[in-house]
């Protein structure tokens, strides 16, 4: 029980660190750590609940989230200016951290009551907070790869939330894992690559040819 709580809270701390991270390389590294902690959470839940299929889910998460996706993202930025350039914040670092903290408190407060039959659940609270922070990363960062990582973090959060709410929904978990992580990340990487080729940058706030300002 304590291990599960420790893993969940550490995973949330990694996401909070991501919101103030200034380099893509460290952002990718933190995503890898968060995914590793999530894998540990899934393993701990598998042992606690005795659901054999969760071992399979943990194995897939290890393969895809801890190894394949971060490696692909690192490869995408390797040798480009993105590897060293500093990420911009629409708010100051302090403002971003404050916003992220408020979002975390909100996520924890709402998520803790989402457990099965209304019971308190730390995993669902951390899952919802991570999900919201991931979406905030998408909204607050203008760098395309940082937005990709934001979505992946939100996907990690939703995975934890689904695990907490209904661990027996194996197909939902595996489908989300496969579609959002593998195919989704591949398509996003493809689009980032094309963006770099066509525009010479991957800063989405500079994409203004179509005239509308967006997040």
């Amino acid at each position: 029980m304590e291990i599960l709580a420790l893993l969940s809270v550490s995973s949330l701390a990694a996401v909070l660190a991501m919101t103030v991270s200034r380099q893509l390389d460290s952002l990718i590294g933190l995503y890898r750590w968060q995914s590793l902690l999530l894998t540990g959470t899934v393993l701990a839940l598998a042992v606690r609940l005795g659901h054999a299929h969760l071992f399979w889910t943990a194995g897939m998460a290890l393969l895809l989230k801890v190894w394949a996706i971060p490696s692909m993202l690192r490869r995408l930025i390797h040798g480009t200016i993105l590897e060293r350039s500093e990420l911009h914040f629409p708010l100051t670092a302090t403002g971003t951290l404050l916003f992220a903290s408020l979002l975390t408190v909100f996520g924890l407060a709402v998520g803790i009551g989402l457990g099965p039959s209304g019971t308190a659940s730390l995993e669902s609270a951390v899952g919802l907070a991570s999900f919201l922070l991931g979406l905030a990363l998408v909204a607050l960062r203008s760098e395309a790869i940082a937005q990709v990582i934001g979505l992946l973090v939100a996907e990690n959060g939703s995975m934890l939330l689904i695990l907490a709410l209904a661990p027996s929904l194996r197909l939902v978990l595996d489908a989300g894992l496969f579609f959002e992580t593998v195919i989704g990340a591949w398509i996003m990487a493809l689009l980032v690559h094309r963006m770099h080729l066509v525009h010479g940058h991957t800063n989405t706030s500079l994409l203004r040819e179509l005239g509308s300002r967006w997040v």
Partner: protein, 441 residues
Amino acid sequence: MGLNLSPADRLLLAMTLVQAAAALCAWFTSDRAGRWAVFAAQAVAAALAARLQPGGGLRPASALGPGAAWLAVILGVGLTVTAYRLWESPEARSEGDGHRYNALLALLLAVVAAVPFAGSGLRLWLSVEAVTFLMALLIDVERRPQSVEAAWKLYILSAAGSLVALLGTALAEGSAQPALALTLLAVGYGAKAGLVPLYLWKPDAYAATSATTGALLASLESLVGLYAIAWWVPRLGVSSAPSWPLLLLGGLSLLMAALALPAERDPRKALAYSTVEQAALAVLALAAGGPAGPLLAFWLTLNNAAAKPLAFFTLGRPGAARWLYALALLTLAGVPPMNVFFGELALFRTLGAFRPLLLAGVLALLVPIFIGLVRLVTVALFPAPQPESQAAGEASPLSWSAALASAVHLLAVLALGAAGLPLAVLGGAVLGAAGLGGGLL
């Protein structure tokens, strides 16, 4: 060991195999052969859907059960969109890499057709998600500088919506919190349909794509999102009571369309806001329509799917196409005797019976949308004189295949208008009492 497939699964398998074969063919042959292959595959899929049972006969509803009507719309739009391209020049189509476009289009049409077959929340999520993947790739293949921007905006917001919808699916499957689950599902699938808050990709994507992709985005992408929401509504017990989260989402979406459309000068972006408006009305029908809600939502979605491709096929084209374009805009504005008018009239009767104040609000928001669309009609029919240098680059007239596809949509708009009269007269409540709403999902 034989596979024990249901008739619906057999139909889906056959349609998918045909479309996959067309995609392969399109990849390895010329652009022209590929276009014909995609059209032929769509025609075969429609024929299969119509005659599935071993004994033959037009019994799609019995083969597929609920969702057959939605499938008919998908296959119909797929047929006209693929027919539209047959004789259009590459310059007029402006679809970039023809081989890849044809192959992706075949796959996309196969996946869209799978949506009404879903049968479970997870399969529904997977098929809608696959539609989004392919739509983003289709836009990217067009290879214009704006395409990658449009594809990115579509993908990133749709992916966020997909995650929200996945959470909603888990909550709904776990039967934990139906109201929260429905809200998440509506927000998530609303990204595809065109509901707040994740509709923001629509104006930019519509502005950056070819007529074919624009027609698909405006009709089928919106349709699958609305189908997914409509599929969940009765399963989460909303048919029997009004859903306030859905009312709020529909109302806010209508408000955004009413604020944005009149100020929009780009006709493609205006069409995007019109899609937001139509999606909002369909969701309002689901929220307050009671047992007839699914029927009304389907009717409004069908009307949009009939009118929007006509607008995209004819937008910016000279000659008689300008008049067709104007007619499409007037249809979308809700001018009688076209279909949208009667669909909206049926909705107004339902909303009026539910909450007169809500009806007043909806009518007030529809006024600026009407004015915005009529202004676009004026601009299309009486354009400002162009400098000679710009006039030289005028678009080519419609090819005969494009004219035929446009004519089919025109006929659909008029025929659905005629068929919509009884629905509008009876009103949603009467139809619901007659049990006509439940068979669609």
